[in-house]
């Protein structure tokens, strides 16, 4: 598997502010992903973060709202910008390991926007 950590584990933020979430992996990986899980819902892919290139965003997600950095093969950040209460969710990063593309997830960041 993979050891993946996220910071912060949770936060309560005010409307209009931004929060940057960090994802750290215990070894180098090519592909990292960011997901959102709204309350009581399933997970939705936000974007794919590859080192050395711009992130690829899924339909409904834009770079201005969710800028992503991938400075090296073990680290990525996701920023939730100009937050509103609708952004209250759990945000999770994931990586692919093994030849069969098993995907492993970090513990998540629980964000509440007031």
């Amino acid at each position: 598997s993979a050891v993946i950590s996220q910071k912060p584990s949770r936060d309560i933020c005010q409307r209009g502010t931004s929060l940057t979430i960090q994802c750290q992996v215990d070894s180098q990986v090519t592909m990292m992903f960011w997901y959102r899980q709204q309350p009581g819902q399933s997970l939705t892919l936000i974007a794919t973060a590859n080192q050395g290139s711009e992130a690829t965003y899924e339909s409904g997600f834009v770079i201005d709202k969710f800028p992503i950095s991938r400075p090296n093969l073990t680290f990525s950040t996701l920023t939730v910008s100009n937050m509103s209460p609708e952004d209250s969710s759990i945000y999770l990063c994931s990586v692919i390991r093994t030849a069969y593309n098993e995907q492993f997830f970090g513990p998540g960041t629980r964000l509440t926007v007031l």
């Binding site: 399933s42 939705t44 892919l45 899924e58 994931s94 069969y100 593309n101 098993e102 998540g108």
Partner: protein, 112 residues
């Protein structure tokens, strides 16, 4: 329905009984993965089954895959209170190493 949709959405059984959850998907897949999530925490990877496999076991878990019906099932035998969680199936969005599309999940409650 969306790719990777589970049923039932909720399931409550007695401890010791078996729990079966089903997942359907729409497009061709290379593999299908099952995850567990306890109380809104991170996802725990349970098992990956490849498209050329029909059945796979891991401890008390048994996963089947029927590519002709585009469906998979997760069986938990001899359930325990600690199995109470939400269970999700997921498939790759593209043909290879890619982000995942998740089903809506099955919330499983094990009654002591």
């Amino acid at each position: 329905s969306q790719q990777g949709e589970e049923d039932p959405q909720a399931l409550s059984i007695q401890e010791g009984e078996n729990a079966t959850m089903n997942c359907s998907y729409k497009t061709s897949i290379n593999n299908l993965q099952w995850y567990r999530q306890n109380s809104g925490r991170g996802l725990v990877h349970l098992i990956l089954i490849r498209s050329n496999e029909r059945e796979k076991h891991s401890g008390r878990l048994r996963v089947t895959l029927d590519t002709s019906k585009k469906s998979s099932s997760l069986l938990i035998t001899a359930s325990r209170a600690a199995d109470t969680a939400s269970y999700f199936c997921a498939t790759e969005k593209g043909g290879g190493a890619d982000g995942l599309t998740f089903g809506k999940g099955t919330h499983l409650i094990i009654q002591p």
